[in-house]
Every structure is written in C-alpha cells, then in structure tokens.
Symmetry: C2
Subunit: 424 residues, 2 copies
Amino acid sequence: MLDKVDAVADLMADLGRRARAAARRLALCSSTQKDAALRAMADAVEADVDAILAANAADLERARSAGLAGSFMDRLRLDAGRVAAIAGALRDVGALPDPVGAVVAEWERPNGLRISRVRTPLGVVGVVYESRPNVTADAGALCLKAGNAVILRGGSDSAASSAAIYGCLRKGLVAAGLPADAILAVPTSDRAAVGHMLAGLDGSIDVIVPRGGRSLVERVQREARVPVFAHLEGLCHVYVDRAADLGMAVRLVVNSKLRRTGVCGAAETLLVDRAAAATHLAPILAALAEGGCEIRGDADVVDLYPSAVPATEADWRTEYLDAIISVALVDGVEGAIEHIERWSSHHTEAIVTEDSAAAVRFLTGIDSAILLHNASTQFADGGEFGFGGEIGIATGKMHARGPVGVEQLTSFNYRVSGSGQTRP
Amino acid sequence: MLDKVDAVADLMADLGRRARAAARRLALCSSTQKDAALRAMADAVEADVDAILAANAADLERARSAGLAGSFMDRLRLDAGRVAAIAGALRDVGALPDPVGAVVAEWERPNGLRISRVRTPLGVVGVVYESRPNVTADAGALCLKAGNAVILRGGSDSAASSAAIYGCLRKGLVAAGLPADAILAVPTSDRAAVGHMLAGLDGSIDVIVPRGGRSLVERVQREARVPVFAHLEGLCHVYVDRAADLGMAVRLVVNSKLRRTGVCGAAETLLVDRAAAATHLAPILAALAEGGCEIRGDADVVDLYPSAVPATEADWRTEYLDAIISVALVDGVEGAIEHIERWSSHHTEAIVTEDSAAAVRFLTGIDSAILLHNASTQFADGGEFGFGGEIGIATGKMHARGPVGVEQLTSFNYRVSGSGQTRP
C-alpha cells in the first residue's frame, strides 16, 4: 500500500515538473505556432474519427454493463457529428486573437516612466472533469491558446474516448513543434492522483478547474490548496415585472426553463411581480405546463393557479436541472432583488420589463455573474458571449467570473521602461 | 475556556454579518457619498491629531517597556508629519476615479444582444496587519473607495494608535451618511479572532489581505479557506547587461539597493554580465560599499573584487531587507533570466542596458509581477504606478498581481441587454 501511494505521488510529482517546464517554454511560443498546433489537432481528430468512435463505443459498452443512467450515457456518447464539433471547436480556438502579450493598459508617469500592463499565461492549469470526453479537447485547446500547460484528469468512465482525443492533441503539438508536455493526461485512474493535484503538485499547479457535478466541485473546493475556478450550481431566476410585455415574458420564461433543462443557465425559479399576477401569471404557467414543466408555487401562486404544486422552502434553493420550476409572487423589482439576493447562487438572473428604470435597478442591484434584461438565461455561455468557447462558468468573484474563456485563463504583469530614473 | 472560545466565535460571526450587510448597502452608494466620507475622515484625522499622537505615545511606551527593536519602533511611531500624511492619503483616495460601475468592455453580438463587463465591489475584505498604524487608514480608505466593507485586525502593539485612527474613519462614514459598519475593527486581541477570519466567517469574507512579516503571511496562506492577496517577499534582482551605460548602472543599482533597504522593492541580488565584468563590476561594487553595503559575491566576483565576502547558496534565496547584496556574474541576458527564474520571488526585476533587444528579451522572458528597463526596482509601489495608494504588492498570479490598488479590489459582472432574444 505504501509503495502504491509513493508510486502515485512520484508519478504526479514528475507530471508537475514536466508541465512546469513545458509552461515556461510555451509562454514564449508565437501565436502562429499555437494556432498551427490547434489546426493540426483538428486535422488529427478528423483523421482519427473511426478510432475515436471505436474507443467511445468501448466506454459506452462498459457504462451500459455498469447500469449507468441515460443522462450519463448521453453526456458520454460521441457520434460523427459530435466528433466534427470537437474538431470545429479546436479550429475556432485557433482563430481567436492571442491573449498573451496583449497590452491591456498603458500610461506614462510624470517622471517619464512608461508603464504597460500586459497579459501573460497563468502557468499550469489542472482540469478535473467527469464524463464528457469533449472536455479533453476544449480544456486542452483553451489552455494552450492562453499559453498555459494543462494537466487533464478525466473520469474513468470516458477513459478510452478521452485517450483517443488526447492522442490527437499530442499529434498536433508535435506537428507544430511545441513541447508535447504542454498538454498532459494523468496516466492513472488511482483516485489519489486527484488529491495530489488539489495539493498543487509542490507548486507546479497554479489553478484548478473542476468540471462536473456538485460533489466533484465541492470536493475540489474543500480540499484544494491552490486557487480554484469554481463553477458551482446555477440557481438562475427570471423576474417578470409589471411592465413586461406578456408575449415576450412567455417566450423568455419558456426558453429560459425548457430549451435545455440540464445546463447551468437554465432558470430554476420564476418571480412574478404581484402587480402583474392577474394578467401575466396564468398565461406563463400554462405555457410552461404545456411544455411539460412541473410547477411548484408559493401560496399566492397556488391561489391564482390551482394546478400548481405547493412549494416548500427547499424549492427556493434547489437547482432542479429538470423540467420543474418554482414560482413566487414578489413586490416589484425590490421584492425580486430581495428574493434573489437571499436564494441565488449568483450565476445568472434575468428581468423581463419595458421599464428601463426597473431594468437598471435590477442590473445594478444584484450581485450575480450575469444579469440579463429581456433575454433568456440560456445565453449564459462563453460561446454565446463571443468568447470562442469556455472552460466553465465561474460563480466566484476573484479573477474570473462568468464564462471562463481564454482571457480569463491569463494573468498579467507590468513592464516599465525608463531612461535611468531613480526614486527620490 | 469553552465559553471564551464561543464568545470569540460569536463576536466574529456577528462582525461578519454586519460587514456583509454594510457591503450590500455600500455597493449601491454613489461616488459622491464615498468621496465625501473620505474627505470627512481626513478632516477628523487632522482635528484629532493630538489624541492620535497621545495614543501612539502610549503604544510606544508599552513597546519600549517590552524591549522591542528599533526598526519595530520606527514602524510604530507617528509624528505630526506622519499623521498629516495619513490625512493626505485619505484625500488622495477620495480624488481617485470611482472604479465601481466602470464599463471595462462593451460589445454587441450578431443576435443583437449588447453585453457589457462592469466593475463591481468584491464584497467584504479582511485585512490582517501588524504594527504600522497607517495601514488602518490606507486599507479602510481603499476598500471603501472600491465599494467593499472591510474588517480590520491590527497588531496589538499598535492597538491604541489604530483605535484612534479608526475612530476618525467611523466619524467620516457617519458624516457622509454611509453605514458605520462599512469599516469594522476586530474588538478583541484574542488570537483566535484571526483564525475565524481566515476561515471566512461563514462566507462573510471574500478575500484576505495580510500586511506584515513573513510569518504572518505564511500563516495566512497556510490557514486561509478564502482567497488571499498574498504579498510574499520581494527577492528583487538588478541585471547589468554588457550594453549598460556605466554611470546609469551605478546610480540604478545604488538606488535599487540602498534608497530604503527595508521595503519589498529593494534589490537583494545584483547580476552582472560576464562580458561587462572587467569594466562595470568594480565601480558598481565600490559605490555600494561606499554607501555602507556589505557585498557577498560568487567565486568570480570575489576574484575580481577581493573585498567581497564569499556568497553561499543561501544568499541567492535571502531577502536581506538590509544593507547587504549578493552578486553573481551571469552569461548575458539568458544567464540572468536563468538565475532569476530559479531564485526570484517573482516580485520585481530590472535590467540596465542600452540594447533594446536585450531589454525586450528580459521583459518578456521573466514571469515576475514587475519588470523594469533602466529604472530602479524601488519604483515597485502603487503610488509610483499612479494607483493612488496600495494595500500591498501581490506576488500571486490570480486576480491581482503587483501593486493592489482600488481597481484590484474590485470584481466585475456582465450585463446583457436584449429585446426578447431566446436561444435557439
């Protein structure tokens, strides 16, 4: 047992050293080289589509024998279209502007010193994820673009699929003359490996990104001794104001809740202005019900819409990720803000209103990562923001918040040019 | 004992709740109100100068009886000039532009959604510091300007001075109609209070800023369960290139090392290009020696400058904070980069050269927070950068790096305006 522990520790320490060395080389690589690598990765994924699908079939067969759930199987499953999308995403990241070296700000001091603030890579990113094999490519590509080395630790259920995709990433790195260690996969399924990553591999990991369910994210937040881009749950709210256009409100609530119920930007709670309840509540709830959504309402909602199930306090703090919505009446925008500040996970909230003063109050009065006026909460997504992909949506307030794209995967430093200035 | 522990825990939990409530109100306060509070604080400090100096005299007397060192007494000591500087710094922060609400970026998506990224307060900042009483005012002012509530925990040695200054800050808040709990001081000297702060007071603290010596910072980094703006040591390097102007090199090295030896931006190691050793080494070291600096050199340096003390490996990793410098010969800019990447604390490094290619290589090839070309390392300071004060210099790479001014004390969110867009 001791030998096994030591072996995993040694293996992980070695991985950390290799990643750190690769990161130092990568920080100085040109945009041209990184983009060539990303295109070569996409080519390799397309060339290897059969091998990737065969590996995925093996993963699926194992999952089926283990009796895993249908939603799990769906996250795991690849087909020709999904593999093509992986290759497309790699090319999209290649086409983004290089964040590294970008001058974010520049100014001159009265003593003649010229100071610029320049984007630099973060260093080494550790990604711990579960069953989606495309995370291997997405995380690898975004980290590379930002000049970071990455250590990938995927779930054992998608091991064969991830390994096949990972092989394509390595081919792309080598083809472009970049260090092959710029993207490393943890070569053991031993769970102790994750613990070593969370401890930071002796200073070799600069930040950890967990991608997966609540229990994974909570473990990472509890145990990590290095910074974490935590994507906690998305307990998102839609507030329908008294000045909402009813047709728009119906469309936005239905899309926010039902377009896809399993994503973090899906609405979980609907708040309706008490002043609009008589006119707006029933049509919105009827449209949701018609879409197959279960409705859990507070006492006032049940009064007005008797087919609603009575909500309990637990409903206000539950991320259903399913066709269920909790509904409450509130006293105008102030009541909505109060409910949201109490129960929200500070991910994404939307207001539907034609009253621009109410919209401003909502957008400035709530401390969530994304606030929308007259738009669906399902736009909470790096691609929809124009970030060219994301590694997750951060609900913390430090460094990254909201969709984590290539810019959020960088740090910065200050470069000062003088002509011999000394400080008095 | 149990009662005492519970009492401190309850006291701190209450402090956390009050700070969180104040932070929510403060986030919505106008720039005008915040700046009025900062001016009123400055007025109060000037009006209370006698009381502040009397409190400081009591602290100094206690420190003298306890036999504390002269350097410690100097950090603790206030006089009329230092009190005037505290009031001036409060006014300076009041005159800075308000970072909260600033639109950092704005763009429109093809579907017509308009997205803006807007600066928001971080929330509640916990500041743990040692003997400098001016930190009370500096930290309180910078946090307020950034819309954050702050919980201050100063050292017991400066308790009376800090309490007198703290009283002035409260007067300013009240005069401007801001919540008095926006700036809170921990009302107990019990060391357990710091432990509660590092645990985050049940989610009430968003970030911890340690201001003090190495043992404090290390304790904070080890124990904190919330993000930390760590200001680790400043093991700063000056590299004198073969293409350096000798007169400039002498001035910059002497200023970097000796202007003030106890600040984190003071140079600790001098690297001289082997190709310039014959001409540049002796004049630079003679100027340092004349300034009272002890010189510890590697074998090559001792050969060329026999009055240097032989350096050991420990010298390359020591932040002397004293009139001592370690000196090594290196093989050009590549040798300098190699030495610095191995030993630096990634705080501040400078190159002296007339060769712009060497300067570019140095500024892009080293991963430190501040890199200077032909300027003194002692410019590593928020005031010198034009930030209007700083709460410290961060050596981490997440969120804040380098001088932590008001902008670095903010977060951001995304505000999206639509006209009824749903996601396909």
